[in-house]
Assembly symmetry: C2
Homo-oligomer: 573 residues x 2
């Protein structure tokens, strides 16, 4: 029992308890998320000087790095995150007052670096295997300068983010109680993503940018943008004005080419690649509103015979006209994005839809192909367009686990989603893949059956996936060492049948930070040890009425707030 | 299939589909929530005139009613809710343009009314059995005036709310397509509540007021305010400065006497009574921070042996000093509230806490009482103070189902929470009660185990309670007709271990509107029929980027948004 209720000198006991808590806190930099690969901390208090500056030692730093430096300076000077201890750091007053001041953080390229620096935005969209995100960061205990070094602009940017997370506020002074700090860091996996479905509900550009801010804060580097689905097609694609007119929920619920560029540029300047997805050949009913000739079983009923959710509708993959249409669509859509990956979807294809579609049956008959052969032809043709444009195709797992399409292993990446147990099968097939399993990473589970008419209905992927559950994911489970090399990383995903702009932040954060740490820091860490850092992460984002809301994204707790946290600590079994 | 994909004349087919949807919509006033007891609607389009006014026919209307009239006028003139149809009402343009205009709504007392009008705020805190909330409302199809009549100021206020829900916006014009409208309305049950726990997390006054706005919008009439718990005591009570200092999470996370008055007055002016709860004798660890002498097993470990969640701590109910302390506390706390009900809590009392507490054992020995006898004495003494102040005591179900305390049936109200199956037992015991069962009405379920260390942990009241589940609640299940008379009503509840200011709105709304309709309109209604109205309710509150956010509370969908809704409609099995 930390706080004795029998000791008459209650204040003394309370003070002792606070000291115990302080000691417990002093061993790690709690606000860090994800944890660096190597971290050592001391116990000296150090503050940022009033004129603390961040500079780049070298010539011709890319403008987007300079912009990031500027944002970081602004952040550390103005952030109001207080320590997650009783009194929120008031007991640090004397130590901060007498602490030495850090006057600068100096960025430079590693001594081994040669060649021309590239911009952060360029490096953010490199091929995954070429992306360099490591850095080293040292913060001295005295007043000399802190140093951040990397072999890439992207690495410097990741280091800036880490540096931002080292400081607490006490009455306007940024300080740490853990100097000196030495960090050597690099990600365990190159792909750390977040998927957002903007088809079931539309999200304004501002929502997406706010989400990108928070993603960047936890070093997520891929925004998997599930743009379109059967319910809506909110993307304006040059050459497809009818789709732009009929596809969005309303004329204002649309992403213009300018919006896309805005999002892509904003993301890249924060170290994030955009992986766009135009889901095909299933999940395409909405295309029938503009081009009915290309869609089989559009809104057919009973929908459950034709699709996994209403409304049914799939591209007529056996039609050469529809194949051409999709090729043109992919060509134009993929041109809006600068990244090197593009998802053609491929999930939940319903064969009955085609069995019942006279035109498809006619097309198959004429060509002498089976449906599987037609699907293979359609996929190869549409992926061919992507490959010509220098893009690697990304598909959901069914495209290799349920169909035999002979997809190129070098030019195709698989998203494992139905079950974490399917990862091994994808690996056996020799494909590189991303872990996106519903049983660990789906953020939408557990809110009931969305179609609405069944009071006892549960969501298909019940229960709710807690951050703790996601945090325990093992990327290498059931894989051989060689197969482990096919793991690109992983991501959490928000399907938005039951979410919208109004609950985006609390349904995504802080849970999506869970996989961000798994795939940056590596798996196998203890949830109890992570909890204080996750709390600090959330506090840093303005929950519990701390004074800061710098990054608006992370706000809500899956485990309550400071004082509940304190209660747990004081009451550990 | 509404929209044929084989018809080459696609536009014609689409138009036909829209017409089908319009017809489906024309039979009910979709934006109404809760449904009035009697509702008849026509099919004439009627709009509000630009100078539409609301007047009171009579003299000396209470100021709070005049204020409500003023807010209603402002609302109907400025609300931007559009019809939940394809095109959001654009197809109504011609009909609206040529529609007759309604120039006024006239409020008056029923012809049978005699006596002096009382203020809305007074009537809102009448005893439940004396509260009069019925009204009649007629809106003609022509340009004559609409009329709202009631036997009480509170009834007029409820009618104003209903009137507010009748109108859609089309380019700045408020209109209905369902005139004439005739409504006779009164609630099925007098108690329709919402409970908010401000102890596990603190909520600023603005959050509470915003929640009160939305409660009023759906005719919820009781704010059950679970003020304190083991984690914090955020209420400043005159005479208890030490508790005010040690109880809140931080000095700013506190409700002052002025805050309480502000909340109570705001609620009453919106037809809402505040039922405060100071949870005792369990759930009181935090009191030990100010008065350790009154708390047994404060923060004792392992906490699971001493409480249902950490931190443990219970009032020393066998101590006469602690009993006096609690009496004084209740007396001072209850004086802050104008209502006639006060909850003393009474849930989850842990007997081991007292078994292991030397002082309690000593107190029991000296008095020769059993623990049960001491609990009876404590409860009668503390309730006695409430009764002296004219308050009816409210307690959680254990106080009558697990203990034999001889509580007055006339002066005690029971909250059934552990299971809906326990309602019958409470009724058998002869107590009036409120339905607050965790298996139907707990808003916090389904987000994992909040203490945080168990990745496979589920919330104790899994699964998530969907609005549909809550909507199917039967208040009279397993009750005799006579026992049915003991049902005061019901409420949904938010315990806040896993919620805070940042997710308050989406976790509460629209789900809490579910019980509001059950207990106003009566149970047994169909969820599929309710869904469009619930969508309209949510849309009216600014979800899905409609332009209005008049009442900020209701924002998030348990079933997605307009177009998903449309998809379901078009795809009904």
């Amino acid at each position: 029992m930390l706080l004795s209720n029998t000791n008459p000198n209650h204040c003394m006991t309370l003070k002792a308890a606070i000291l115990v808590i302080l000691v417990a806190f002093a061993s790690h930099a709690y606000a860090l998320w994800p944890l660096p690969k190597q971290l050592s901390t001391g116990s000296t208090t150090l503050k940022l000087s009033d004129d603390f500056d961040i500079t780049f030692d070298g010539d011709s730093a890319p403008q987007d790095l300079l912009d990031a430096i500027s944002r970081t300076k602004d952040f550390v000077h103005n952030d109001k995150l207080q320590r997650l201890v009783v009194g929120r750091g008031a007991s640090d007053t004397d130590a901060v007052s007498s602490a030495q001041s850090l006057s600068s953080l100096v960025l430079s390229m590693d001594s081994g670096f040669s060649g021309q620096m590239r911009s952060l935005s360029e490096e953010a969209i490199d091929l995954l295997e070429l992306r360099v995100e490591g850095y080293s960061l040292t913060v001295p205990s005295g007043g000399s300068q802190a140093e951040l070094k990397a072999n890439s602009t992207l690495g410097l940017f990741r280091g800036l983010t880490t540096f931002s997370q080292l400081w607490y506020d006490l009455d306007g002074t940024a300080y740490t109680v853990e100097a000196p700090i030495a960090i050597m860091d690099e990600p365990a996996y190159p792909y750390r993503g977040l998927m957002l479905d903007t088809a079931r509900n539309y999200f304004p550009v501002a929502d997406i940018k706010r989400t990108l801010d928070t993603m960047s804060w936890v070093k997520i580097n891929t925004f998997h943008w599930h743009i379109s689905d059967s319910q809506s097609f909110p993307l304006q694609i040059p050459g497809f004005p009818e789709l732009a007119a009929a596809g969005p929920y309303s004329p204002s619920m649309v992403y213009t080419a300018e919006d896309v560029k805005d999002i892509v540029d904003y993301a890249a300047a924060r170290g994030i690649d955009v992986l766009p997805e135009i889901d095909t050949p299933g999940h395409t009913m909405i295309i029938s509103k503009a081009y009915p000739e290309h869609i089989a079983c559009a809104e057919a009923k009973p929908w459950a015979s034709f699709a996994n959710e209403p409304p049914a509708g799939q591209l007529r993959l056996a039609s050469s006209s529809t194949t051409n249409f999709t090729q043109t669509l992919f060509s134009a859509a993929s041109s809006l994005f600068s990244g090197k990956y593009f998802s053609s979807g491929g999930d939940e294809l319903n064969t009955n839809c085609y069995d019942q579609d006279p035109q498809t049956q006619d097309d198959l008959k004429k060509s002498g192909k089976t449906l599987e052969e037609a699907l293979a032809g359609f996929t190869q043709a549409t992926h061919g367009v992507l490959h010509e444009k220098g893009k690697t195709a990304v598909v959901w797992e069914e495209m290799v686990l349920e169909h035999n399409l002979n997809l190129s292993a070098s030019n195709t990446i698989i998203m494992v989603w139905i079950s974490s147990a399917h990862a091994a099968s994808v690996a056996h097939a020799g494909y590189r893949f991303v872990h996106a399993p519903s049983d660990y990473f789906y953020l939408d589970c557990g809110a009931g059956e969305w179609i609405g008419a069944d009071p006892e209905g549960n969501s298909w992927c019940d229960p709710f996936k807690t951050w703790q559950k996601s945090y325990t994911f093992d990327p290498l489970a059931n894989l051989t060492e060689e197969e482990g090399g096919l793991v690109l990383g992983g991501q959490q995903l928000l399907w938005t049948e039951q979410s919208g702009s109004s609950n985006l932040d609390p349904i995504v954060w802080p849970r999506a930070a869970s996989s961000a740490e798994v795939f940056w820091s590596g798996p196998g860490k203890d949830v109890a040890a992570a909890l204080p850092r996750l709390h600090d992460l959330g506090f840093s984002q303005g929950n519990c009425h701390s004074d800061t809301a710098k990054l608006d994204g992370i706000r809500t707790w899956s485990s309550g707030c400071l004082q509940v946290m304190k209660s747990i600590r004081n009451s550990k079994r």
